[in-house]
């Protein structure tokens, strides 16, 4: 294939990923899914809620910005001169949206038959900021309601309080949208500073998923990016991290929200893992979740039968290069009992022999799940974005599954230290 396009095939999932880095540093990934009707285009920056301490590219000075700027920027980029981009997409019959997480902000559209127009509009949207005093003020009202909505959401509260209990300095403890108070400090100048620093082609990526023509797509991207090279300095973005201590901040946070069914979340702070190791741990955690906490586990059966557990007990790993943790969460009428049982159980399984049959059966389940997930375009782009942000090998998740051994499960369980665990309860 011309243009120095790198091809990564996966025969199992019946898809291919094409990768090309443009001259200005923009990374482009195209995942071809034959036979699918829908096409998704995503344009993202490696910038999220945790990047609030960095060097302002326009002045070269290190600055700190109020909480919630990345998310505010996400909202405001949809504002174009005289129009709202969501509306412009919608008028073409294209659906679009965006999300901000800890370490990324991604804008996307979904279409059936207007891929070219959608892609052109997406590039224009991200590349043409239009911030005014007035439109910034208007957005404070809308985001204020978004924050209030999350404040009333028990899931959100129990999750963030777990992070706040675990982390001492790391900005992961901050609400992604900020607070009503912090967003009142955001103005047009701050938005431009952050935009100019982070929305720079060499800090960004485009991901396409669907049944598209690869070379044609790269041509459209190339042509359109050139139209808007207003901000493109080749300097690498300088973001400052924090030196997060290994210990936790506080053991327990409880919040009263007048719930009928309380929610409990237990966090174990872990050492961050790098690149492919992180993917491996994520899959090990997933296997542990299935073996020890799913409905096929003895533990769930006991907790359910005595009325302590209800729908599910979730056990999942979350992490990037500078934070990592496990969160175990569930709802229960008797949160104190289930909390006590989970802690005892974790200590017990750390020293117990592992049931080989259960382990092998769980691996079979994972093979089937990967197959079903590949029918959904979302699993393809998640894999790609994950590899962009964490520099792991694409499809390492599929490859590593068959290599996971019982010893890996044992080693992983030992990393769950009682002294680094926290409890968050919302009732």
């Amino acid at each position: 294939m011309k243009n120095n396009i790198e091809i990564i095939n996966n025969d199992n999932l019946n898809e291919s990923i094409y990768k090309k880095v443009l001259e200005n540093g923009l990374e482009v990934y195209i995942c071809v899914k034959k036979g699918f009707t829908k096409k998704i285009g995503m344009f993202g920056t490696k910038y999220g809620s945790i990047n609030n301490d960095f060097v302002d590219s326009s002045t070269g000075e290190r600055i700190n910005v109020p909480d919630g700027v990345a998310h505010f920027l996400e909202h405001k980029l949809f504002e174009q001169e005289g129009a709202n981009a969501l509306d412009l997409f919608s008028k073409e019959g294209i659906s679009s949206n965006a999300y901000t997480s800890f370490d990324q902000t991604v804008y996307y559209f979904e279409t059936i038959d207007k891929f070219k127009i959608g892609l052109e509009m997406l590039i224009k949207l991200v590349k043409t900021p239009y911030f005014t005093e007035e439109n910034v003020q208007k957005e404070q009202g809308i985001i204020g309601q978004e924050i209030s909505m999350y404040d009333d959401d028990p899931n959100f509260n129990v999750y963030f309080n777990t992070l706040r209990a675990m982390y001492i300095k790391h900005p992961i403890r901050i609400d992604i949208a900020g607070t009503i108070d912090s967003i009142s400090k955001i103005d047009k100048e701050i938005l431009y500073k952050c935009y100019n620093t982070f929305y720079n082609s060499n800090n960004m990526f485009i991901v396409i998923v669907g049944d598209v023509d690869v070379e044609n797509t790269i041509d459209i991207i190339n042509e359109n990016i050139k139209l808007y090279e207003n901000v493109n300095n080749k300097d690498k973005v300088i973001k400052f991290g924090v030196d997060e201590p290994k210990n936790i901040l506080q053991k327990r946070i409880e919040k009263d929200m007048g719930l009928y069914m309380p929610q409990v979340s237990i966090g174990y702070k872990l050492e961050p893992a790098q690149k492919n190791d992180r993917i491996k741990i994520e899959i090990i955690a997933d296997i542990v979740s299935d073996m020890y906490f799913s409905k096929s586990s003895n533990f769930f059966e006991i907790e359910y039968n005595k009325g302590a557990a209800n729908d599910t007990i979730d056990f999942s790993y979350e992490g990037n290069k500078d934070f990592a943790h496990i969160i175990i969460s569930t709802t229960s009428i008797n949160v104190n009992e289930i909390e006590k049982d989970i802690f005892e159980y974790i200590e017990k399984i750390k020293s117990e022999e592992i049931d080989t049959e259960l382990f092998e059966n769980t691996k079979r389940r994972k093979i089937g799940e990967n197959m079903v997930a590949s029918e959904n375009l979302n699993s393809s782009y998640r894999r790609i974005i994950d590899s962009i942000l964490n520099e792991n090998t694409i499809y390492y998740d599929i490859e590593v599954l068959s290599n996971i051994r019982i010893e890996d499960i044992k080693d992983f369980l030992k990393t769950l230290e009682l002294s680094k665990s926290v409890i968050s309860i919302v009732k």
Partner: protein, 421 residues
């Protein structure tokens, strides 16, 4: 009447099977039926416990099994669902689908019953599970506001009852009710089986299903189709608009508006969908543009059309002090619809968005199965292409015609007491 419906597409790797029991119901029966189906899903004579079930499914390469309850207008549907990988894609071409079908037959038709009674311990546990489910519906405010609106709007109809039933009725369910409910579900429902996904190697699966479920679905239970949609013909619309405020401790208040279509006709379906899309279905919609973008009153604002019931519910998360303003802005949008204040651009982009949603169904074996189910209960054979053609044919005057039949019934507000803090 046909009982088995197949949708085959080679782009998938897996197969989805949905086994539906659709029947008429009433307030007292809903929790009985729900608890009965939960008990079935938790164990049979062969797979004694939930854990045994899950272990067996893991060995079938992670075959998924669950049950789902849904109100189809005033009818009730209990769905047993399976999802598994086609043998073509598995090591040694292991045929997990046929095993999964046998498993399902075991779950539905061979439950743990002794002397006409289900297991008492399992019954008690599932009953308390459902009581908790009903009690916790208040925990999610936005969803609760919408549920409350459905309930008030359809006060005297089965649709107005919460999907798991009313708390008092759930508390009153006795173990002896379960055996009767079970017999009623399996013998007096309309049964439809939908299989969708990659059916390569399973072209004759209907034969196999007939062998496994022989005599199980050769009953002739037809459902009363007047209970889907057409019930609204019976002039349920009220003249006086109700305005109700419910106090609850929250940061954000939720305003909802309930509307009902008078004299609903089968072929209003397309125009009503376009109506919903223009009013509050997309970011170009009147609600999004006015309530959110212009007035900055809300982050979430949408309208939802309940096709099997002929009602609309509008909702928005607002600050309590903005209630009057939000109410006025929303009501203005409804009037604009009725007065034909709709542009060609609004019409076309809404139609386009609906058409895209329909086209997207092709990518999901579950959406394709849902279409097959809807066809089954409506006794129709509408294809996605036909749906699209009809949707595209809707003009502004069609939207205005149905808009005049959309009657304001209820204005409701939940919460907002924490605001002063």
């Amino acid at each position: 009447m046909e009982k088995i419906y197949k949708v085959n597409d080679s782009k998938f790797k897996s197969i989805y099977l949905s086994y539906n029991f659709t029947f008429e119901t009433n307030k007292e029966d809903i929790p009985k039926n729900v608890i009965t189906s939960l008990i079935l899903s938790k164990g049979s004579k062969k797979y004694k416990t939930s854990k045994e079930i899950e272990k067996y499914l893991s060995s079938l390469y992670g075959t998924n099994f669950d049950i789902n309850m849904e109100k189809i207008g005033d009818l009730y549907n209990i769905e047993f669902r399976l999802e598994c990988v086609n043998k073509k894609f598995l090591p040694n071409n292991e045929d997990v689908f046929k095993n999964a079908i046998n498993f399902l037959s075991e779950i539905i038709y061979n439950p743990k019953i002794e002397n006409n009674e289900f297991d008492k311990i399992i019954f008690e546990r599932e009953k308390s599970f459902i009581i908790d489910k009903i009690n916790k519906k208040k925990d999610e405010k936005l969803r609760y506001a919408v549920l409350k609106t459905e309930e008030i709007l359809c006060e005297k109809e089965p649709f107005g009852i919460y999907i798991y039933g009313d708390i008092k009725d759930a508390e009153n369910v006795k173990i002896s009710d379960i055996y009767d409910a079970y017999q009623n579900i399996i013998n007096n429902s309309n049964i439809s089986i939908i299989v969708s996904g990659n059916l390569s190697g399973y072209e004759d699966i209907d034969q196999y299903l007939k062998e496994i479920f022989i005599n199980r679905f050769n009953n002739d239970n037809e459902i009363d189709k007047t209970l889907i949609n057409k019930s609204v013909k019976r002039k349920f619309c009220v003249e006086d608009v109700k305005e109700i405020k419910e106090k609850i401790q929250t940061n954000q208040a939720v305003i909802t508006i309930g509307l009902r279509v008078e004299d609903l006709e089968q072929n209003d379906f397309y125009a009503l969908n376009v109506y919903n899309s223009i009013l509050g279905g997309t970011p170009s919609s009147k609600l999004f543009q006015n309530v959110r973008e212009k007035e900055s009153l809300a982050y979430t604002t949408k309208s939802r059309y309940y096709r099997f019931k002929g009602i609309f519910i509008i909702y928005a998360g607002i600050e309590e002090s903005n209630y009057e303003r939000a109410k006025k802005v929303i009501l203005d949008q409804i009037s604009d619809m009725e007065n034909g204040n709709i542009s060609e651009l609004e019409l076309n982009s809404s139609k386009q968005s609906l058409v895209n949603d329909l086209l997207e169904w092709n990518d999901s074996k579950i959406s394709l199965a849902k279409l097959a189910y809807t066809n089954a209960i409506n006794n129709e054979k509408i294809t996605i292409d036909e749906l699209i053609t009809n949707m595209k044919a809707v003009e502004i005057e069609d939207v205005v015609r149905v808009a005049k039949k959309v009657k304001l019934q209820l204005i409701y507000m939940l919460g907002g007491e924490d605001n002063e803090k």
